[in-house]
């Protein structure tokens, strides 16, 4: 049972960090399937907590070959772009989204689609909470579609990435989700 987002936002940053539900490799290896029938409107997904440091930002810049100085050059960020610090990458946040949806739908569901906006500037020292909540569900083409509200909030409750997503879960007695994924015809 995940800690509710509203409860997390009433905690101190260190308490939030202790409730991080990001799975390790074994957790992902042994992940049990969530079926369509298991899910109800209003359910919350596990909370992934992050505490990005300048080193994390540098590692992401290097990994994707993004050389924009606002992400690793503090002097440039403060004095040239007048930012509050070096900034967490939007590209990192938007890569967490499909990871988060993948993990929740493993092993046989599908993280179909998401849309989101980048709003607040995130900086090292922020504690970030990736969250999701079920807004509706429906069956189509013998698959279970789950609509979600998603986002990444700071410990202060500022929403930095409001969005929505749709994932596909298998029906308990249904056929496998097609792979590569083929959405049902409208």
């Amino acid at each position: 049972m995940t800690t509710l987002l509203d409860d997390l936002l009433n905690m101190e940053a260190e308490e939030i960090w202790k409730l991080n539900e990001r799975p390790d490799a074994d957790g992902l290896r042994d992940k049990e399937q969530i079926y369509y029938e298991d899910v109800n409107e209003g359910d919350e997904l596990p909370k992934y907590i992050y505490k990005p440091t300048p080193t994390h930002l540098f590692r992401w810049s290097a990994a994707i070959e993004n050389f924009h100085r606002i992400h690793y050059d503090l002097d440039f960020g403060l004095n040239h772009d007048r930012n509050p610090s070096i900034l967490v990458h939007g590209s990192w946040k938007q890569s967490v989204v499909p990871q988060y949806l993948k993990d929740w739908t493993l092993p046989n569901g599908w993280p179909w689609k998401a849309r989101f906006e980048h709003r607040a500037m995130l900086v090292p020292g922020d504690v970030l909470i990736m969250w999701g909540r079920v807004t509706s569900k429906y069956e189509k083409g013998q698959m279970g579609f789950i609509d979600l509200e998603i986002g990444m909030k700071t410990q202060d409750g500022i929403e930095s990435m409001p969005g929505t997503a749709t994932v596909v879960l298998p029906l308990r007695n249904g056929p496998p989700i097609p792979y590569p994924f083929v959405p049902p015809a409208d």
């Binding site: 992050y50 290097a62 990994a63 924009h68 938007q94 967490v96 179909w112 998401a114 994924f181």
Partner: protein, 184 residues
């Protein structure tokens, strides 16, 4: 005295850009395990489907897979035959922001508007298949939508959506990304 309506930003020339596509681009190199190791560690995704060959074979995918939208970054790698755009950017401007005027293959022609201020308006991703190690990735950009909105003061602005489709050597669509920008 009649008030004059502000001129539209969605001119026929701007509207004509919807559907305009860039070149089909074959990404440099292939989807490789070392790029993925760095990517997944930086993403903090320890999924064994990315690195445990034996386990990956037991999954529905039957092989090592790679993260869903990793190809969208891999595809923008600077090609080794492209020179050194970083050094060039600082030669041109010692105060360069680090991305300078790096040219990316497959770019779209600019939208003919005098609205120059650019703001991020949102992103969309659609996933269809996980890229495999060794895949060759192709991509193509296109303007999928351009619409006009009015600001609070009645001044028109544009929302421009650029869609990019990524596919592999077997013509399997891997993912589609859309990035919308506001032009004021």
């Amino acid at each position: 005295m009649t008030q004059q309506a502000p001129p539209t930003a969605l001119t026929p020339e701007v509207q004509a850009m919807v559907g305009v596509s860039g070149d089909v681009v074959e990404s440099w190199g292939v989807v490789d395990g070392e790029y993925m190791r760095r990517f997944t560690q930086a993403l903090m995704d320890p999924d064994p489907r990315y690195w445990d060959d034996e386990f990956a074979k037991s999954t529905r995918y039957g092989e090592i897979i790679t993260p869903p939208i990793m190809v969208s970054y891999l595809a923008s790698r600077i090609r080794p035959d492209q020179g050194d755009p970083i050094t060039a950017a600082f030669e041109e401007n010692p105060e360069s922001d680090g991305i300078g005027s790096v040219e990316r293959p497959g770019e779209l022609p600019p939208v003919p508007t005098n609205l120059v201020r650019v703001l991020n308006a949102g992103n969309e991703i659609e996933l269809y298949a996980y890229p495999s190690i060794g895949d060759t990735v192709f991509f193509q950009n296109r303007y999928s939508d351009i619409r006009e909105r009015l600001g609070r003061d009645g001044t028109p602005f544009l929302i421009i959506t650029r869609e990019t489709r990524f596919w592999n050597q077997n013509d399997v669509t891997l993912c589609i990304t859309r990035a919308s920008t506001i032009r004021r």
